[in-house]
């Protein structure tokens, strides 16, 4: 053993070359794979994602290739995962908020043109069935109605032309099933009849003259064959438009600046429900924290009472709602609360003769949401409270009791003030969690019942997160851009909460270390 150990440079020369080679090979293979992915994404007109992969590849090559960054190797994978799957999506969502990305504007500009120019109108007069016959390595197309047989064609994907000539029916025709397998080749094939008529594949079983609906006449212009109108690409709206300004779907994704935000603030049909959803989100999150805290603390106080027996049994039973997976218990409640044949209404009717409309009445739906959320959340608060209650010095309570304070008074003047400060960061965290409690809303009410008279689906039990979720992933219309814009507003609120939490936590930590 050498007498002097250089702690700072211990890693640089410690590694023999023989053990470095497999590592370098692995780094090279992974980096090249990622580079290929980056290039492919670039080709697919996704340069942003390509750049991310490129950065990842470079990062891996540098950190794991060079010995200098030995320390960084330990944190690189974790940090990379957080950056790529949390930080980047957050930034990208904000970016999407400034675009018109939606089910109408889904494609890139090039893809939009490709889709439009590929559309064609079939001339029914020329439509006729066809069959495929094998001819050595290639195929011939047989049109029985016209008695025409094509020159041999390869039928691989890619534009192909072949002349037709009168001929005899081939002896052996491919079964329709096998012809379908050649579809890609058939679709790009053009047959030219002896009269010079162009025939294209018009369906699974027919060939016909197909006139393209749109012809590309310039960089940004298309000619509509039906009425001879020239369409111009409007790069501010992401649509081809007629001279009158009518849009032709599909459109493409463009940056529309503050357009989504203007829509949110200017349109009454969006602003109105947004405000009420925002208010309800705050009410819901606050009420959830207060209710779970109150119930949890009450139970914790009772469980702490020294004269109570069966404590551990009570404790286990009380924790059960927390232990069962939330998605299962929420769905169970969805069934139990069912208005028509749910067990809860059954009992309420038997006992009090009432049948609350839990799902169709907005207020009742909100009450139900809070009941279920309290049920789900009180055990967590109870467990935390039990821990914090133990740290309240017993002699403080004794002293107060000796002075003649009732136990209720002791609780509110001695115990509560002592457990609130350490509880605060956890309550803020719980608030933030409920502010975005997507699972509960989506599984229990899906935001329903709907607020009447809105432009976009908005429900009375929707919180902001579920509102944007429905906006983006609804079956009828997927408004990713608008959802992104609203998400940005949620981010602002979340950032404020996070900052508060950060401060509260720092305080709690310093108080702890100060006391210790």
């Amino acid at each position: 053993m050498s007498a002097t150990v250089d702690l700072t440079h211990r890693s640089n020369d410690a590694e023999p070359l023989s053990s470095a080679i497999p590592r370098l090979v692995a780094v090279a293979v992974i980096s090249l794979g990622l580079l290929f992915g980056a290039f492919y994404l670039y080709l697919l007109a996704q340069p942003l994602f390509g750049a991310i992969l490129l950065a990842l590849a470079v990062g891996i090559a540098i950190v794991f290739g060079a010995n200098r960054f030995y320390g960084a190797r330990f944190i690189f994978p974790g940090v990379a995962a957080v950056l790529i799957f949390i930080a980047f999506p957050v930034i990208y969502t904000i970016y999407l908020g400034f675009t018109n990305f939606s089910s109408f504007n889904l494609l890139t500009y090039e893809r939009t043109i490709a889709v439009l120019t590929a559309r064609g109108t079939v001339d029914p007069a020329t439509e006729q069935p066809f069959a495929v016959a094998r001819d050595g390595d290639s195929y011939r197309i047989w049109l029985p109605e016209a008695g025409l047989l094509s020159d041999p064609v390869a039928l691989v994907a890619g534009a192909e032309e072949a002349a037709l000539a009168p001929g005899e029916a081939p002896a052996e025709l491919l079964a329709p099933r096998d012809a379908v397998a050649l579809r890609a080749g058939l679709q790009s094939l053009m047959l030219i009849s002896p009269e010079g008529v162009e025939l294209r594949n018009a369906g699974l079983r027919t060939f016909a003259t197909v006139t393209p609906d749109y012809l590309r006449t310039g960089d940004d212009t298309l000619l509509r064959s039906a009425d001879g109108v020239t369409l111009t690409a409007d790069h501010t709206r992401g649509f081809f438009t007629t001279p009158e300004g009518a849009t032709v779907p599909p459109g493409w994704r463009v940056n529309i600046g503050w357009g989504n935000f203007e829509r949110v603030f200017a349109s009454k049909g969006i602003r109105g429900p947004m405000v009420s959803i925002f208010v309800w989100t705050l009410v819901f999150a606050t009420a959830s924290v207060v209710l779970t805290f109150a119930v949890g603390l009450t139970l914790a106080v009772i469980l702490q009472w020294e004269h109570l027996r069966f404590k551990s049994l009570y404790r286990i039973l009380l924790i059960l709602p927390y232990a069962v997976p939330a998605f299962i218990s929420i769905l169970v409640f969805r069934g139990l609360f069912n208005q028509n044949f749910g067990e809860i209404n059954l009992i309420l009717e038997a006992l009090f003769g009432i049948r609350p409309t839990w799902f169709t009445d907005g207020t009742m739906a909100r009450v139900m949401l809070l009941i279920v959320n309290t049920w789900l959340g009180y055990p967590y608060m109870m467990l935390l409270a039990m821990g914090f209650l133990q740290s309240v010095p017993e002699d403080h309570k004794k002293a107060a009791a000796l002075e003649g304070a009732s136990s209720v008074r002791v609780f509110f003047t001695i115990t509560l003030p002592q457990i609130i400060p350490p509880f605060l960061p956890l309550m803020i965290a719980s608030f933030a969690f409920n502010f975005n409690n997507l699972v509960l809303v989506l599984l229990l009410t899906q935001g329903l019942p709907d607020i009447p008279g809105t432009l976009i689906p908005a429900g009375q039990t929707d919180i902001l997160a579920s509102f944007t979720y429905r906006m983006a992933f609804n079956d009828s219309s997927q408004q990713f851009g608008l959802a992104g814009a609203i998400t940005l507003m949620i981010f602002v609120v979340v950032a404020a909460i996070s900052y508060l939490n950060f401060i509260a936590m720092r305080r709690a930590a310093s108080r702890r270390s100060g006391r210790a």
């Binding site: 697919l44 996704q46 320390g71 940090v79 957080v82 969502t93 299962i328 967590y380 983006a472």
Partner: protein
Amino acid sequence: MIVERPADLRRKKILAHGFMIVFLTLILFPFFMVVSISFREGNFTTGAMWPTNPTLEHWYLAFGLDYTRADGTVVTPPYPVLLWMWNSIKIGLIAGVGVLALSTISAYAFSRIRIKGKAVLLDSLFLIQMFPTTLALVAIYAIFDALGAVTPVMGLDSHTALIAIYLSGVTLHIWTIKGYFDSIDTALDKAAAIDGATPWQTFRFIFLPLAVPIMSVVFVLAFIGFINDYPIASVLIRSEGNMTLAVGSRLYLNEFRYLWGDFAAAAILSGLPITVVFLIAQRYLVSGLSDGAVKG
């Protein structure tokens, strides 16, 4: 404590137990109901709290078996519950192990290795993790939609994609494990360094064995979190065969096909194992929860 009069004490005890029993009856009511419903005939029946003609039909279906009713009609399982369960467990285990590896290694580095800008990095990680992934769902969808064009392995409707996104949930766990490593005496790794161990060897042979208890807490927490995830899985996973339990279970209570009884049996079948794991682990979990959250 102050001596109380025995009569007062007894009255209080009765009150406390009475409250507990009433409260527990209310709280546990859904569990009793689900068990009862799972043995009840049909999917709509209202009426009896206790099943009058108990049947195992829903349980057969939950286990993926055909059930022959008394009148000879054969009922086939509506959904592949066991497959969903397997999907959930598989994804939860792989992502859990991944998160565990990433967070333990990172936590060790954050606790022991000198890296430039470490404090800033730690704080920013903490701030970033407060932005829930569920808010960036639109972006996540767009990202995997694009990646799917490169390779379907990383595309929509792929378990690999889901696991990849779950791996990003490491930050809180890094903090928890780092807190644990911080409490280990630095003399230990100095001794190892003097004996010529590289930081990796110090981690592998000294810190890893010491961290087993906290690692099991983190693993169970992460595993349960992944099993319970609904929003991300519902956006990424499309086909019935690839669904996780959380996504699939929702299909049961569709307005047009309301399978209350079948759902009850499937819910117990799938919820029970997770509940048992949780109850066994809960003592450690709770201390982990509050420690990890407050240590700053």
